[in-house]
């Protein structure tokens, strides 16, 4: 990363005494001013602004400072210990929710829900859906519950570890499984993860490799009609695709596809049954991404 020039810092300090604090995270004066305005809008006095800017100087996430992150039209509350919703998630979740049929009781299960942003958005856009959210962290389920209460969107929040296959998460039949699992591998966590994420966001929600994708094939896929999983890199997409293609039964029943985000990075692996029983999945997922099987 390019070093910030002393002249830039000097220029920033002349504009506003708090501005240099924001430079390490924002990198440019323009972005720093924008962020300062957002902080000022939600602060009571200069002392609070100063304290918040100092937190930001130490790469503390703005979403934790202000306590919220806009997610499509929803304002999702954020707390330390729970992953902040990303715009990539917002992008695919919005698209997916609009594709689901209206006025149908679709059963949706969201795993690793965190703040509950995905199930809340789906329920907000398609109010007739029946939505459940699962997370293993009590902090996350608490926050998801609080979010659903404060937004007035009712979803069922369950605490339980899906990798542990105990009785808390009963393997009921659902139409759609969505999931944003931890997908940063240990090596990329050290090398390619930004400082603010590394220092302040929960490792529980970040570090993982293939365990959730393996769990998808081994346990979740049998009870679902379709699934949408977020991924961090192409290898995870390929892993899911390979597991399905190699299995003689699954390859006949399931179609799998990848989806890129607006930044042209592989972001989602999705799949649905070829023979749809309840819903017309091929139509729903038309042009959602690129089909591989």
């Amino acid at each position: 990363m390019v070093r910030i020039k002393p002249s830039t810092i000097w220029q920033a300090s002349k504009l506003n005494r708090f501005l240099p604090f924001l430079l390490p995270e924002c990198r440019s004066i323009h972005a720093a001013r924008q962020e300062l305005r957002w902080i000022q809008d939600e602060s009571n006095d200069d002392y609070q602004v100063w304290k918040r800017c100092k937190l930001r100087y130490r790469h503390y996430p703005l979403q934790y400072i202000l306590g919220s992150q806009p997610f499509e039209s929803l304002n999702i509350k954020c707390k330390p210990g729970v992953l902040i919703p990303r715009w990539e998630t917002e992008e695919w979740a919005t698209d997916l929710a609009h594709r689901l049929p209206k006025n149908r009781q679709i059963h949706v299960l969201d795993l690793c829900t965190g703040t509950g942003c995905i199930p809340l958005l789906i329920k907000h856009i398609r109010p007739d859906a029946v939505v459940k959210a699962v997370d293993c962290s009590p902090l996350a389920t608490g926050l998801a519950y609080w979010n659903s209460k404060s937004l007035g969107i009712s979803i069922q929040v369950i605490q339980g570890d899906i990798l542990e296959h105990n009785s808390t998460v009963k393997p009921q039949k659902v139409d759609l499984i969505t999931c944003n699992p931890p997908y940063i591998s240990q090596s990329t966590f050290v090398k390619e993860t930004s400082r603010s994420v590394k220092l302040f966001e929960p490792k529980l929600a970040l570090i993982g490799c293939f365990e959730f994708y393996a769990d998808l094939i081994d346990h979740q896929i049998s009870r679902a009609e379709a699934f949408v999983y977020e991924v961090g890199e192409l290898s995870q997409c390929e892993y899911v695709c390979r597991r399905i293609v190699e299995d003689p039964i699954l390859s006949k029943v399931w179609r799998v596809g990848f989806r890129l985000d607006a930044n042209s990075k592989p972001r989602v692996v999705y799949g649905y049954r070829r023979v749809a029983i309840t819903l017309d999945w091929p139509r729903i997922f038309e042009e959602f991404g690129e089909l591989k099987n």
Partner: protein, 401 residues
Amino acid sequence: MFSTVLRATRLLSPKVWSRLQSTASNCESLELHPLLIKRAEKYVEELLVLEQRMAHGSIGFDVEREKHFSRLSAVVDSFRKYASEIATLKELQAMVDEDPSLREEAEQEMVDIKPVLTKTSNALLSQLLPQHPFADAPCILEIRPGVGGIEAMIFAQDLLNMYTNYAHNKRWKYHLISHNENESGSGIVDAILSIDEPRAYDKLRFEAGVHRVQRIPATETKGRTHTSTAAVIVLPKIAEDSEKEADSYERTFKPDEIRIDVMRARGKGGQHVNTTDSAVRLTHYPSGIVINMQNERSQHKNKAKAFAILRARLAELEQKEKEEKGRAARKGQVTTTDRSDKVRTYNFPQNRVTDHRCGFNLHDMEGIMAGERLDDVIEAMQSFDSDSRAKELLDQVENSN
């Protein structure tokens, strides 16, 4: 006696005087063309019929008709006022011609009555002419600096302040949709102001164009006068910049017509980074319009605002095309008020604001920049516009005969 009165009014009234091109007020020009009078009489008849029908209660409530009714009665009211004033003037004229004993007093009264009559006849004229299709709409003002570097940015900021003050003085609701200051914080790179008052577009549409400033800039060290410009774009506000509106509006476009770009971060993205950047760039390919929006924390809100502006721009574009077609059909070289480039000059050393289209001068820079006297300029421009449109209309009628 006559001249002393004139001098006195000139001394007492604020320093406003118009050039020769503007509406010179002699007796003939005060009277409207017989064709226009005929038109007004038609309205009177229409109102009578409508009133009778409404009195009988034979027709139910209808919003469109109520609107039409209120417009009709406004036209008829000002027509009656105009008719009575013109009658008084004619009587006075007759008195001047016939009775030399009363001549002086009659002339005095005529001088008094003329400005009132100019006002009423102008008002009636603008009511009789066909309305602008977006006249009822609220408006969106876009302000951008032109040539002149930092000074132009400062002037753009001054213009923005002028319009917000103007809206504030009128007690109109307004809000800033987007506001981007330059790096040094002394001026703006661009700003979009939304004035949410119905009919604001009708008032402010003549503001569109290039505004020129002549002054010694704050950035100038040697005391030289500079000339800089800022551009103002006035758009009719078709829809609210709410998210719901934007969503439904977005779906009216084909996917290959528009493109929405969000920030393109380097690296892996997703959970690896935690960005707060929410800038959105909206491109509309058929028209080549590009809109950048970055002020809100929510990408979704930025997108909604961008769509509201796209909608206003497209509506304006369509309207311009329509006008262009109509003009081509008439084959006439018609002067237009909304196309000319340099519309106004703000000369600070001379304390003067000049509107180049109607040749109106106002010597009160402070009042203008505070938005208090802007109405004077706007009214001058409006009467100029209705005059030229009336002329156009009459030419058209005469040509067709």
